[in-house]
């Protein structure tokens, strides 16, 4: 957290210290830690779920699906066949430009563990996994330490705090694959297979990890759970400025004066985040556009600065709030090169299962590379438009990776079309002396 911020209720980052040192068990408990767990265990699982539903918590991983509703599809009690139920935390933060989950895990690992115990109790899951990026070494170590500390205190293991509820928790290191962020691909990977997504239905809530009911949630989502159970749905609703409840970790990266990550009320206007918290653009740079929530979201531009950063508002403007971590496109960076770089990433990360993604994305990257280097032809614009229409349509591909990859291309064609045309007409990149093409 940086800059002089007004005093706000920031449940998720209240233990984040200026030097980013991790909060240990003693410090976490001294600041009210594991009270949410005790509150949850004093309630029935059904009551916990109702509070979650009433709170209107929406998934913070990008899709914004209501968490309570997602959980309500998990079979409970006698409706569930005997065997394990799983809760998985998706900590495989690989969306380009996203750095919020790392902050939460490195600075306050116990918060995630407590949120997960409460979530697992609500679902009556008996095994929980934290599926984490291999690159996040420090977070992996801290989470394992937090889990060990919880076992020693009786917060994990058998008969948690005398409630009769049992839960074991494991940290599982991924092996570097963006597609693992997709929940069914993550499940395949956790089973020790290639990270190929699976067809839905069946949905993981019914048949997920090893064919058992499974919930996969993002780190930030799970970090909210015990706060909501302890302090109530009305409190959570009151945190947000718009219809979407709670707080959100917003990030800004690129050529701004003070790039960073801040927990702010859900629905904080984009302008306030970029100009006040991120300090506005660096001297000599102007804002041309921004990806509101990571590499797989549509560009928005200056005209969208006064929109509220929440799921519905950004969705209506033709993009997605995604992870809420914005990447700024400045006026000295070539938009064609910017989009090409992203497309190369998505092409590399295709699992190869379906043809539109496996072959379509490298083709798009090649067309963009040609345009960027002045080899483009006027008809390449039509080729790109066709690819966007075909690959971007939900239902033409096995999962959402390729449609997500098309979002920056389609919006760049809409907002920065003259840049593409200048490359094609001039036969070279007009930004080349900026050093970014």
């Amino acid at each position: 957290m940086s800059g002089a911020l007004p005093v706000l209720d920031r449940p998720l980052t209240r233990n984040v210290r200026a030097d980013r040192s991790p909060t240990d068990m003693a410090a976490y408990e001294a600041n009210g830690g594991y009270r949410g767990l005790r509150a949850a265990l004093a309630m029935s699982a059904a009551d916990c779920l109702q509070v979650l539903k009433d709170s209107n918590l929406r998934g913070r991983g990008g899709a914004g699906f209501p968490t309570g509703m997602k959980w309500s599809f998990v079979p409970m009690g006698d409706a569930c066949s005997p065997g394990h139920k799983y809760l998985i935390c998706n900590a495989d933060e690989m969306e380009p430009g996203t750095f919020k989950d790392r902050l939460l895990m490195e600075c306050d690992p116990h918060q995630l563990v407590e949120g997960m115990i409460c979530a697992a109790y609500t679902l009556q899951a008996d095994v929980a996994y934290i599926f984490i990026r291999a690159e996040y070494h420090k977070a992996t170590r801290l989470l394992q330490e937090a889990i060990d500390a919880c076992k020693a205190k009786g917060y994990l293991g058998d008969n948690i705090l005398g409630s009769g509820y049992n839960l074991e928790m494991h940290v599982h290191s991924s092996a570097g694959r963006y597609i693992c962020g997709e929940e069914t691909a993550l499940i395949s990977s956790l089973e020790g297979k290639r990270a190929n997504p699976r067809a839905k239905p069946p949905f993981p809530q019914v048949s997920g990890l090893w064919g058992r009911p499974t919930i996969v949630n993002n780190v930030e989502t799970l970090c909210n759970v015990h706060h909501i159970i302890e302090r109530g749905a009305d409190w959570f609703q009151s945190l947000g400025l718009t219809a979407d409840a709670g707080t959100k970790l917003y990030g800004v990266s690129g050529r701004v004066k003070n790039p960073g990550c801040w927990e702010l009320p859900m629905g904080t206007p984009v302008r306030e985040i970029i100009e006040e918290y991120a300090g506005g653009m660096e001297e000599g740079y102007q804002l041309r556009g921004f990806l509101p929530g990571g590499g797989s979201t549509d560009f928005l531009t200056v005209e969208h600065l006064d929109l509220a950063m929440d799921y519905d508002t950004i969705g209506k403007a033709g993009s997605r709030m995604g992870t809420g971590t914005m990447i700024i496109l400045d006026d000295k960076t070539c938009p064609v090169g910017f989009v090409k770089n992203l497309t190369e990433f998505f092409a590399q990360e295709s699992c190869g299962f379906c043809t539109p993604c496996r072959d379509g994305l490298p083709w798009s990257a090649q067309v963009l590379d040609d345009i960027e280097h002045g080899r483009g032809l006027p008809e390449d614009m039509d080729t790109l438009q066709r690819q966007v229409a075909f690959i971007g349509a939900i239902g033409n591909t096995h999962c959402a990776l390729a449609p997500g990859a098309m979002e920056p291309i389609q919006s760049a064609l809409k907002y920065f079309r003259e840049d593409f045309e200048r490359h094609i007409d001039g036969g070279s990149c007009p930004y080349c002396d900026g050093g970014n093409s």
């Binding site: 430009g97 991924s174 092996a175 694959r177 990030g251 990266s253 690129g254 960076t333 990433f345």
Partner: protein, 154 residues
């Protein structure tokens, strides 16, 4: 198969863990630095999988290597925020000063150069990762200094 072979020891530890193949491959790579292709049949046998399944998993994930890497690994982030802050100049500098391309190891076996998309450190771009440490706001001079600290110069 010698009983003291480190891979053989690991096979016994992971065969009963559900979904144990990825943790096993991580452990082998930690132990010997890469996954030797000639050990794939033994891995498959231990995990009750086909060789094709094991090969499929090894080749599906970027982190697994099938040949030894250098003593140190340098990863340069090439996601958008780092690119906007000059990581391409850093890439060129690294390639030139090390005399290798991405995916290659220097002739003395000291450093393997890799590219990575996003280290999750976008507020402090450009970022590099050397072995397990992420370094922020790295320019060519700082990169030279960091590499010099490895004590591999010469």
């Amino acid at each position: 198969m010698q009983p003291d072979n480190p891979i053989t020891n690991l096979l016994g530890q992971y065969r009963d863990i559900p979904g144990g193949l990825l943790p096993l491959l991580h452990a082998i790579q930690r132990e010997v630095g890469y996954i030797p292709p000639d050990r794939v049949p033994a891995i498959a046998h231990a995990m009750n999988l086909s060789r094709a399944e094991v090969h499929g998993v090894i080749s599906a994930y970027h982190d697994f290597r099938t040949e030894p890497a250098g003593r140190h690994t340098l990863q340069i982030c090439r996601a958008e925020a780092c690119q906007a802050m000059g990581s391409r100049a850093l890439e060129d500098h690294a390639k030139q000063s090390l005399g290798v391309d991405f995916g290659d190891t220097t002739a003395d076996g000291a450093i393997t150069l890799e590219r990575v998309y996003c280290l999750g450190n976008c507020a402090c771009s450009p970022s590099v990762r050397i072995d397990d440490s992420v370094h922020a706001r790295v320019d060519p001079a700082r990169l030279d200094a960091l590499l010099a600290e490895l004590g591999e110069a010469g």
